[in-house]
């Protein structure tokens, strides 16, 4: 397992206003054990309410497990990063970056089929984690990382703070 945490003081000067911490995980579900203590520390640091903390845990687990299970598909030696940032006073954002094949979970086809999900949708392999993310996050944004910049996917999930 591997993890890198960058406190504010260690970040480049231009990023200090936004970035709070970074976690790097291997593309293995076992590595997700590192996610909880990392997120818990941030939740405590920013005194995040319990319902928002629950939503953060839920969305991070769904997003990261999707990358590992469906993006990297069995490749256990790949990496993904999770960045935590505070872009504005009442918003905390988590950005997940990977180098897996392009997949936009927010594209219209995916959204349309999730408008009225049935319980069966949640029982399929892979589940419907994206639906839970959309219901529990305040904002979700997908960006494709072009090949010239390493290639991959960037998913940013935001949560409103009091």
């Amino acid at each position: 397992m591997s993890s890198i945490s960058c406190p504010v003081a260690a970040m480049p000067a231009e990023d200090t206003a936004k970035h709070v911490s970074r976690l790097t995980l291997k593309s293995q579900l076992d590595d997700m054990a590192l996610l909880w203590p990392w997120a818990e520390a941030l939740i405590a640091q920013f005194n995040i309410p319990s319902d928002t903390a629950f939503a953060i845990h839920l969305c991070l687990e769904e997003a990261i497990s999707n990358v590992i299970r469906h993006g990297y598909i069995g490749q256990q030696d790949q990496l993904l990063t999770v960045n935590c940032a505070l872009p504005e006073a009442h918003l905390i954002e988590f950005t997940i970056e990977d180098q897996a094949p392009f997949f936009d979970p927010l594209e219209p086809d995916h959204i349309e089929e999730l408008v009225e999900p049935s319980p069966e949708d949640f029982l399929r392999p892979g589940g419907r984690g994206i639906l839970l993310m959309r219901k529990f996050a305040s904002t979700i944004k997908y960006e494709r990382i072009e090949a010239g910049k390493g290639g991959g996917n960037r998913l940013t999930i935001g949560f409103a703070l009091p």
Binding site: A33, S50, L132
Partner: protein, 113 residues
């Protein structure tokens, strides 16, 4: 915290399964086999969620797939006393339309009769 599972038999042939901990990916993996074993024999299953502090989609599968196995054999399953946030996951995923949720034990037991 490691996910824990305990069972005991109640009057009326009801099997009460108490889950305790986080039903995340690790928690789901920890209880999957036990849940499936229980589902293989139980006819009336009360799944006690009072002490479940987190529920993700993998945790949902660990509850719903065994529950459906019981129902498919003509049995009954109820979910009992989820916390507010755990219940919000049940509702967001429409699982509450598949498995009834009760917050009153007597009502949960009555629903299994």
């Amino acid at each position: 915290m490691e996910m824990e599972l305990s069972t005991h038999e109640m009057d009326g042939g009801i099997t009460r399964v108490e889950l305790d901990g986080r039903m995340d990916i690790g928690g789901a993996a920890a209880v999957d086999m036990k849940m499936n074993l229980i589902a293989g024999s139980a006819k009336k299953l009360l799944i006690d969620l009072q002490k479940v502090t987190f529920l993700g989609s993998m945790g949902l599968r660990s509850i719903v797939i065994p529950a459906r196995a019981v129902v498919s054999r003509g049995g009954k399953v109820v979910l009992y006393a989820p916390t507010e946030m755990v219940e919000s996951v049940l509702k967001a995923s429409n699982i509450d339309t598949l498995l009834p949720v009760h917050h009153d034990l007597a009502a949960a037991v009555a629903a299994l009769q």
